[in-house]
Symmetry: C4
């Protein structure tokens, strides 16, 4: 028998299905190799989130082996999948959910081009209108931090809190993205790699034309607000 | 009951099917990520065109959720799919159909290499015979223009009207292509990214050998005319 | 009723099936976009070869729409598929079959990296053991020649006749490869793009270590001869 | 009737299935073209290993056409598949199994970016945390050695014995990786190409930020040891 009310259980089941399925976007867009990336989603209204199990191949993911965690990053005992360990990045996801109340989804990848910028510790400048839409300016670099305590989570929050960007390049490491839900965070991860790649390749050929700040602002405002009135930016298609 | 004669309705249904299906070429050739690109097709003989709905994943496209629009870019009330918004790029497509009578299809993408040239505001020079066949010379750059009025549409028309090229690189933005029908415009989008990529990579390794103008002219004329006598360049295979 | 003896007809049917199926290797390895590449195969013992029809999508290829041609590049009247035009590159394939008796297969692509070397008119130097195995040295550049007469065919033959390489980079154009049969020529096209890409990327990072000529010779001899004793190089796996 | 006890036969059958199936990871991650790469796995407790047959397409691999070999690299007479030749790289695999008792799997590829570093004879420096996890530092370069005697095997062992890295770049040739079993070696091959590509691309854009040695050590120790206590690094997900 579930330890949750049937309404909460239904929500948990939906988030399990979403989080499981959304990993296929990471493989579709080649943002990950082997088991090196993960998606999580907050259970709305609860102090809970759902995340990928550690070391399980993307082919084997299913709603029932996703892991339900409390905001300290521990699996809820007795819940499906809780016999396995959650992703080794769970502590970072948990820290974000605990400290950024508006965040409903977190994604971590080592996608190639974004990680290349991260290895140089260089933010991705905003030269493309689609990047202005989605990120509202440059994608910033977060601190160097290694796994084992809450330093990765703290670095993500310190960099993204109050920033327009939904993506942060963790120095020498990879990318974390946030969103209003798991799908929105996955979209940010997909777009982050796309703009990292396009901007890298553009720059190989010479100097880029600057996008004026007022145009960046106009694009970002329209995408977040005008679109927002019709159901939210995540459903829009302004790029 | 349809508001159109059965002959017109049949044509509309065919264009809906074509436009829906042709989006799979954008994903097959990796010209788009997430929902960031769109195809439209004019309904021959009518002041109508069919376009992708906004924010719908490529996996979910079907003839019935394509949106039938009038040349002012508005969905035809009561037609299938008209409960959703058409692509946010609809105004640009509509402007092209209204001002370029020979255009039967329009495609918009942010394909990586083409957008990289666009971010530098640099036209793609013509060094490859297949590019001479399809584009008849360089692929030009259009003005910087942002979404919200008809400035993107005007920029496309001002650049392509009277130009050999079926593709324009909109500065800091992405690519628009035109064609005699939707399939022809999709082919131009596929070829545009292909020549953008090949020319970029070629130039990384050193100087390119110029293609003499008379050879470019001969290739373009043959592809457009000789082939045209046997059913049109879009059916040819001269590259 | 077939115009050929049943034994010849059986051979023709086998070559039709091979040539049709082998196009899927061009798409699998992303050597082609749209309809821009083609495979042909000689009918052993006959003055005939089988080639892709012009302008037909790779999804629609089937043994019965391949086109049987005589060595002047014309479809055999009344044979299946002869109501369509053969590939616009048929004249070049035909010229090769007519002038190189040992060639049983020809492939043409505009694969990205190989075409990039061709746009610079630069041969691909031999720095990788797998390239020494397959090509026995550099991949040479053929002359600039445009479609419309036999100049492409002559350029291929003039460059490859007596050369170790099965691939030629036609200047500003693309690649032609030859082989003992269609599969062998497809393998050469796949390997040509692979070594074009690897050598390009290697050189971006600095100077390459030369492969001594005697090592290249030893690798090529072993692959062609030692392997040949067990059924031919095309079946080997020395790379 | 099998020449092995039923327990050994069962183990051999399992390794045949694993080795056959794991080749699909080489194609999934585009580490190989045509037939140019191979996986082998030791039969635990026996002086035997299982390897890909020579020149067989990845589409046709099946447990029963994998080849069971003794540690001198010869097929076991009468075993399934022994009518075909084992991979032409079998001697190198055999040498590794004979001289590195802890190795349970070997993989060979010519994956693009890793081979590019190999063509320059340049080790891949360690600037990414995921590389520190998996390889514990740079990926070293082994000697130039050509097929035909045991010089490739000796070069692999001389380079990797006592080294943290599970991957070696054989100069002007390609990559060999080792692991506790075939899956672990495949993971190393996938990760090697991933870090080769990311580091190459990162360096194209400017200088990389060094990873301090003590951080590399901490990451490697944690991944190998902390994870090891819960079932081994190969099951972990620390990147």
């Amino acid at each position: 028998m579930s330890q949750f009310s049937s309404a909460v259980q239904e929500t948990i089941d939906r988030i399990r299905a979403d989080v499981s399925r959304l990993h296929s976007e990471l493989t579709r867009y080649e943002l990950v190799v082997w088991t090196g990336g993960n998606v999580s989603g907050r259970v709305p209204g609860e102090e809970l989130f759902v995340i990928k199990p550690s070391g399980v191949s993307y082919d084997e993911l299913a709603p029932d082996n996703m892991i339900l965690c409390t905001l300290d990053g521990r699996a809820v005992p007795g819940s499906p999948g809780s016999d396995r360990s959650p992703s080794s990045d769970t502590a970072a996801h948990a820290y974000v959910y605990e400290h950024m109340a508006h965040v409903g989804g977190v994604v971590h990848t080592h996608s190639t081009y974004a990680t290349a910028w991260a290895a140089r510790g260089e933010e991705i400048p905003c030269h493309i209108t689609g990047m202005a839409d989605e990120f509202g300016g440059p994608i910033p670099v977060g601190p160097f931090a290694i796994i084992g305590d809450d330093s990765i989570g703290r670095g993500i929050v310190a960099t993204l809190d109050g920033h327009r960007s939904k993506a942060v390049l963790m120095q020498n490491h990879g990318v974390f993205t946030i969103g209003k839900d798991a799908k929105d965070a996955v979209k940010a991860a997909v777009m982050c790699e796309d703009v990292a790649r396009t901007t890298h390749i553009a720059r190989q050929g010479g100097d880029l034309i600057p996008l004026p700040q007022d145009k960046i602002d106009a694009l970002f405002d329209r995408y977040q607000n005008v679109y927002g009135q019709r159901g939210g930016a995540a459903e829009g298609e302004s790029k």
